[in-house]
């Protein structure tokens, strides 16, 4: 019997394969239609159909007012988007990649994230900053950084990192409907990957709650926690390890901030072993935070071994393929780390 992505039986033969790109497109299309205050702005989002074609067709459908091409002025247009949010609109501000968001980071943190607090609740900022984050392929150091840890450090922001199409659609819709600044970290290498989408996800009101992780695969021996593209790597590693009798529980964080630590703890209390997997650099990263939280919480006493972090190599991203491949966690690195953690 065919299984859907949740591992449960499919009631209908719904062979609904949608790429992450199309899922994001659907999310934006539906939200633009639903609420006229929603609009998209960024470089090449309109007439070019999006640098990565994520906004394909939207300008044709909604026109200049709702889909706005900007000049190459990140700090300026991010500030404009935040101002528009303050004055009652619901902007989606696209960064062509999050590397360029560094030029605008003051607007994201000081103007967007902190304002509701500084104004004691007088001034909300309902904005989504979205775009591809982390490594791509062969784009070298300045275009490959993962910003999950940087943004997740800041109170006042929500930071979301979808993995598959269902995540992408449901979380982006939630982000757009959220009255707070949301940093939405996509992944360029995932845009073209098709996933089956549940029947539920076809509804125009389908949303996935921000702040809740998902168990992608059940297991008893070790917990693997990851976000974005590396969730797929974890599932691949789990498939290999299963043949050796090691059953991994794979958790897809979905949201980095607020992090669903409870799901991690519940899992660790069952498996007694934890391995975190991320594409970002190790120091002060997502894995580091998970380690700290687990130590401070109820699951610590259930650990039979220290938490292991699998991360990107602590270097700027090199260009040559062989070097780039060895700068990021591969499936074999995850398998190796699991076995070390389990001492097998």
């Amino acid at each position: 019997m065919p299984l859907n992505i949740n591992g449960t039986l499919l009631r209908k033969q719904h062979r609904n394969h949608v790429t992450v790109r199309d899922a994001l497109n659907q999310a934006m299309d539906e939200e633009l239609e639903r609420d006229e205050r929603v609009f998209l702005m960024g470089e090449e989002v309109a007439q070019y159909d999006g640098a990565y074609k994520v906004s394909r067709g939207l300008w044709k459908k909604y026109g200049d007012k709702r889909i706005i091409d900007t000049p190459i002025s990140e700090m300026g247009f991010a500030g404009i988007a935040v101002g528009a949010a303050m004055a009652g609109l619901r902007p989606i501000c696209e960064f062509m990649t999050f590397n360029f968001s560094m030029q605008a980071i003051d607007q994201v943190i000081n103007s967007a994230a902190k304002t509701y607090y500084m104004s004691a609740g007088l001034q909300p900022v309902p904005i989504v900053f979205r775009g591809p984050n982390g490594a791509s392929a062969g784009v070298a150091a300045q275009h490959s950084q993962c910003f999950a840890a940087w943004y997740a450090h800041c109170p006042g922001l929500k930071v979301v990192s979808p993995w598959n199409s269902e995540d992408a659609k449901g979380l982006l819709k939630s982000a757009i409907r959220d009255d707070n600044p949301v940093v939405f970290l996509e992944n360029e290498l995932m845009y073209g990957v098709p996933f089956e989408m549940s029947e539920d996800s076809q509804s125009k009101d389908f949303t996935i709650p921000i702040g809740k992780a998902k168990i992608e695969r059940q297991g008893n021996h070790v917990t693997l926690v990851s976000h974005s593209r590396f969730v797929g790597h974890c599932l691949d590693a789990a498939a290999v390890l299963a043949k050796e009798g090691i059953e991994c529980e794979v958790i897809n964080l979905r949201t980095i901030r607020p992090m669903d630590v409870e799901s991690i703890e519940t899992s660790v209390m069952k498996t007694n072993h934890l391995v975190t997997v991320e594409g970002g650099w190790p120091q002060f990263g997502v894995g580091a935070e998970i380690c700290a939280r687990v130590m401070e919480g109820s699951a610590f006493n259930f650990l039979d071994a220290p938490v292991t972090r699998v991360t990107g190599v602590d270097i700027p991203m090199p260009y040559a393929k062989i070097l780039e491949d060895h700068s990021l966690p591969q499936v074999k690195d995850i398998i190796f780390s699991v076995k070390k953690t389990l001492n097998v």
């Binding site: 609009f39 007012k65 706005i68 900007t70 000049p71 002025s73 700090m75 300026g76 247009f77 991010a78 500030g79 404009i80 988007a81 935040v82 101002g83 528009a84 949010a85 303050m86 004055a87 009652g88 609109l89 003051d106 607007q107 000081n110 103007s111 304002t115 509701y116 607090y117 500084m118 104004s119 004691a120 609740g121 007088l122 001034q123 909300p124 309902p126 109170p155 006042g156 929500k158 009255d179 707070n180 607020p258 401070e296 919480g297």
Partner: protein
């Protein structure tokens, strides 16, 4: 005895004057004033140079300017007593004159339904936009009755259609253009007044904003309050071009005497008409002066002379200018203005009293207002056992 008689007669004469002053029909209801012509950039014509001010307007401007001045002087006092902490950028030196004239002149030419945003020297604008002296002062002293419940302080005050109070120099300019974008998007015929200083005028994001505002014809009035010093750096040492009204290049600009409330008002009216007619952004440079230092920690004399400050204070004070106009045109009496002074002083005293006695915000509210419209969440305190609560 002769002397006593003279003094009695003088008193009687004075009270006779007072009595006649109370007959409002004796006052001129309005007068026409000649104001300085504005320097123009990419404009064929500028604001009117012959303007009418009514008695009511004059009295209102006077009251507002005095209120702002007194409020800032009181803040000065409280800061020196260490009741106000952190940064305290007084709109006083600036508020005194320009901002006083600036804020009043601007507000006189726009509607409360329009929008305004400025940088950190914001107490005056918070007032003209609708904040009360009480809640402004209580915010400065960090009390629960403050306009931001004590969470924001001097630089982060907000009220309806007023977006602060922004601490990062220049960041408010794109924000202001964004507010203007929302106005245009919603088709509500509102505009945004977006202020920044001569120091901020060299920020790159301002030029990015000029570009987009002009490209998209956003209804934004950019206003550069040029008080000749960016903190301790005079304009000549900071800017290759100090013609701030021209720096929008393709955006039409005006250079305005920011010490004269009527000049500011006329220019702002002109600018508002420009925006509302769909022509896009416009830039105004208001030439003003800052009596005090950059902020409370700056005596303001290491980079300029006391003589300079005194000269401006004696020759160009906006409140003095307004007072002269009202009195010499028989639009108000000395007593009437004194009465306003007394009322203002009382209002400030009451507000200061409130600001120093209102309790500080309760600790239970420490973590509130992280997210809007959100279920309550737990916030980590200083140690792992400190689990604090946050509500919207």
């Amino acid at each position: 005895f002769g002397k006593m008689l003279t003094s009695i007669t003088n008193v009687l004469r004075a009270s006779a004057v007072v009595m006649s002053a109370r007959t409002y029909a004796d006052f001129t209801s309005q007068a026409t004033f000649e104001i300085k012509k504005c320097d123009l950039h990419k404009l064929e014509e500028g604001p009117a140079t012959q303007v009418v001010m009514t008695r009511d307007e004059g009295l209102q401007y006077y009251r507002v300017m005095q209120t702002m001045r007194r409020m800032e002087l009181k803040a000065d006092q409280l800061y020196k007593q260490k009741i106000i902490r952190g940064f305290c950028h007084l709109y006083d030196g600036q508020c005194y004159i320009e901002p006083n004239a600036c804020a009043v002149g601007i507000e006189a030419s726009i509607n409360l339904t329009d929008h305004l945003i400025t940088a950190y020297r914001a107490h005056g604008y918070t007032y003209t936009r609708g904040g009360t002296v009480k809640e402004i002062m209580a915010e400065l002293t960090g009390r629960r009755g403050g306009i931001a419940k004590g969470k924001g302080g001097s630089m982060h005050m907000y009220c309806k259609h007023f977006y602060g109070g922004n601490g990062i120099v220049g960041a408010q300019v794109p924000l202001g253009a964004g507010v203007a974008l929302a106005c245009k998007y919603q088709g509500n015929n509102e505009l945004c007044v977006c202020l920044y200083g001569d120091g901020a005028a060299n920020q790159g994001q301002i030029f990015e904003t000029y570009n987009m505002a002009a490209l998209w014809k956003l209804p934004v009035i950019f206003i550069c309050e040029n008080n000749r010093y960016g903190m301790g750096t005079s304009v000549e040492r900071a800017a290759a071009s100090t013609d701030y009204y021209k720096r929008g290049e393709f955006i039409p600009g005006l250079r305005v005497d920011g010490m004269d409330v009527l000049c500011v008002r006329e220019a702002a009216r002109f600018a508002a008409d420009h925006c509302r007619s769909g022509k896009g952004p416009i830039l105004m440079e208001l030439q003003t002066y800052r009596y005090h230092g950059h902020s409370m920690s700056d005596p303001g004399v290491s980079y300029r002379t006391r003589e300079e400050i005194q000269e401006v204070r004696s020759k160009s004070d906006p409140i003095s200018m307004l007072k002269d106009r009202l009195l010499s045109n028989n639009m108000a009496s000395v007593e009437e203005l004194k009465e306003i002074d007394v009322e203002v002083r009382k209002e400030i005293e009451d507000a200061a009293q409130y600001a120093t006695t209102d309790p500080e915000p309760p600790l239970e509210e420490l973590c509130n207002h992280i997210f809007s419209n959100n279920p309550p969440l737990e916030v980590r305190g200083t140690n792992p056992w400190a689990k604090l609560k946050s509500v919207s």
